[in-house]
Amino acid sequence: MTELKKTPPVLKLEDVAVAYKVRGGEIEAVQHVSFEINRGETLGIVGESGCGKSTLAWAVLNFLGNNGYVKRGSIKFQGQELVGVTGENLRRLRGDQIAMVYQDPMQALNPSMRLGDQMSEVLTVHRGMKKTEAEQRCMEMLDRVYMPDAANVMKRYPHQISGGQQQRVVIAMALLNDPALLIMDEPTTALDVTVEAAVLDLIADLRREFDTAIMYITHNLGVVARVSTRVAVMYAGELVERATVEEIYKNPRHPYTQGLIRCVPKLGADKARSVLYPIRGRVPPPNNRPVGCVFSPRCAFIQERCRDQRPQLRQLPDGSWVRCHFAEKIDPSSWTPYDEIKTPENLQRDLAGEPILEVKDLKKYYEVRGSSLKDVIGLGEKRYVKAVENASFQLTRGTTLGVVGESGCGKSTLIKTIIGLEDTTSGEAHFLGFDITNSIKDRDRSLIQELQMVFQNPDSTMNPSYTVGQQISRPMQHFKTVPKDQIRAEVIKLLDAMRLGANYYNRLPRQLSGGEKQRVGIARALASHPDLVLCDEPVSALDVSVQAAILNLLLEIQQEYNTTLVFIAHDLSVVRFFSDQVAVMYLGQVMEIGPAEDIYAPPYHPYSEALLSAVPIPDPTVKQKYIRLEGSVPSAINPPDGCRFHTRCPRRNLLPDGGKICETEIPPWREISAEHRIFCHLPIEILRDFAPVVTQSTEEI
């Protein structure tokens, strides 16, 4: 905030409350929110789901549906009151002065209109521009958001371009009229990490270039750290803390902010050396908020006053704003974990132990049908999606293999093949010494029992029609691991182990929170006491505070049962924290595999390096190497010859004649150590020379 406030702030909210009318009453989704955003400034708004972040955005645009309205307070846009503005006046503001970008670009674009038409109408309607002129403007704007081949994109329909490109179009469309205020609601959440990085770069550029005020809503602390100048933390409909981005991360004042930061693993942290601390309890529903401080039920520093007196948002001497009675008195370092949080111990694993799963040159191809006449009648050339190509690894009992990679890299197919939901095209796979290249239908029940899975989406991991007890007991009945009359007791034992308790036995999934459902999912996977549990992104759909709890639970279980885990995630920090061994996949190919700490330090595979540099890190002091991948992931139907990464590899030119060899020849495995291998043409020496991606002002990780 170097600027002098000569002009009024672009957006100023004062004690805003937004309410929705529902049957039998009214719910205040947002209350007591005040903040302002100036030109050239990005206010990041963070908070877990259900905190009222998006409602706030819609309230600014006065788009709250039939049943929502701004109940109190004022929203001023460039000094002009927005509350109560309707009709033509409102319409003129929208899309012209205030633009918005939100989460799913595919949903946000009209599927049956050409992109050019969707963009240019913003200009023709608001500025009365001629169509050709407008299109010219649009193309310029597309160029400015680094959209390749802008003229061509204008003629296309949304489904014909990739997700990242769609988001660029949406952003370009929002910027067409040079709006004073840009509202972005989770614009990168649906994107892969390398694409996300590029879009975040773009947003940062645009802010500088256009001098726009940006209201940036996200749940991701790392993203906020990267794009924001100031941050507002929301909790249960209230703004609990507001400060500069550096201040927030360095010196969080509100217990909730502190809790949030404590429960995300830092990139480089691992389970052996650090602990994640979840926030206990859950966000109260809007109709059942506590009388006093909204955070009080979950606060570690709770005092009597917090219970019955609602704190006001107040400015501390250092300039940051906090809604806490005791902000000055709280010393984060005095915080101690709750009793119920066990901190797992002795987590160092021996990777050289007994191998439980051995995979060698595993391949999984899917046949695809073409669209030509020949293909339709079955005479066309057969083509394949090469979903997994020559995957090889070993897994020691009791250890964790983390698999990372962007969507479509084949990590899900890999575990589906291992578990037998897909049969294997070729290669070897042995589990406990048994061949598991066959499909699950052909496997022995006792083998199936040893291989179980935990799933990603808490909302779909449980069958809504059955109670928790029924679902956990089903594997026991099916595998007959427990005598019939003891099943109930066994289930309750498991529920206890999941920290759920016996009273959950008769509950239906719809009565559980996301984290609870995920715990039941884990309990179900463990019910047959499997040796190997495959976890497919088990925490990525969860809020950070819950995510930490689940990760802890998994660690605990692993320790108790000596279970072996395969852990898939796209969040590199989580994988680093959780895994003993990590495999990096790209387009069906394992690019690098090795002990977790080795992957996150040089020598890197160029792809791993790019990934690491793209990860948003929730610490504004951290410096990341700037590496951005060109283009998008090629189709798996016709993967590039040679090294599959060669089309996008930023390090290719380190090889003689620009890496011709990468285009034609399959790279060799470079053995860095017994466990650490890199699939690259670059010689080990060059790989070793790479600088670390992440550096913290002083210390290196």
């Binding site: 699950i440 496997r443 991991t461 069958n463």
Partner: protein, 307 residues
Amino acid sequence: MAVKTILQPISQPSRLQKMWQSTSIIFESRVATVGMAMVLFWVILAFLSLFWTPYDPNASDFLQNQGPSVQNWLGTDHLGRDILSRLMQGTQVILLKTRLPGDGGISIPGGVAIWGVIGSLSLGAILGLNAGYRGGWWDQVIMQVLDALIAFPQIVLYLVVIAALGQGDLVVILAITITGAPGVARLARSLAMDIKTRDYIRAAETRGESVWYIMFWEILPNARGPLLVDGMLRVGYAIFAIGTLGFLGIGLPPPDPDWGNMVNEARRNIFSNQLAVIWPALAISTLVIGLNLFADGLREEMTRYQK
């Protein structure tokens, strides 16, 4: 009832509470409440007619083609029979009983429309689940067959079935089953295709559960709601179709009054008694509208909760 409610964490609800909770969703929606009232009206009349009708529905005890009076609330038909009694009796064979062929005059509980829809639901669910869940070759074959069936204009299929098999309650049930099954199957298929992407299906598969277990114990309970709503709409269609067949003179055989046939007979006397056409027409319409509203309301309520 396949309806779901969101509940705040609760302790063990009693069975009665559970039932109330699952029915209470109906009263959440005004549309569903109105619809249910209309349907209940006819269901109650149907049950009542088992024990009591104002007069013998088949007895020609009165003057012909009389308008409503204190004696005959809805008037009399062309044979001097009490229309109200006939309307009431007419509900039975639609909703409450199916007459088996043979001399015994044996009836089984459950009306022709109900059994027909149960038939379509069962057949359609089996086909749709197999097509949707198994996919591939199963899907191709089943959908091809269903496409063929769906291509028949319904009334033509009815005509062909009845031309081939003759009149009778069971034939009408069969016709309703055959004409309804493709629609149910399509719905069941799309539901199965949606539900099969859920992780709990993956979980069942990774347990090595059999295909039939997955289809009927994992998928079907979750497809139950939309299928039941669809079934309810189908009862409406079936009543409509039975009425049409009755009007064309090839519907449910006598002696029980058939609403469609009542319209057809009354039509010939329309100059002496227009109301005699209106009453059975109104009966068909209100029952169909009631079922529609009930189903619409429930569906709306269910999607509201899903959101």
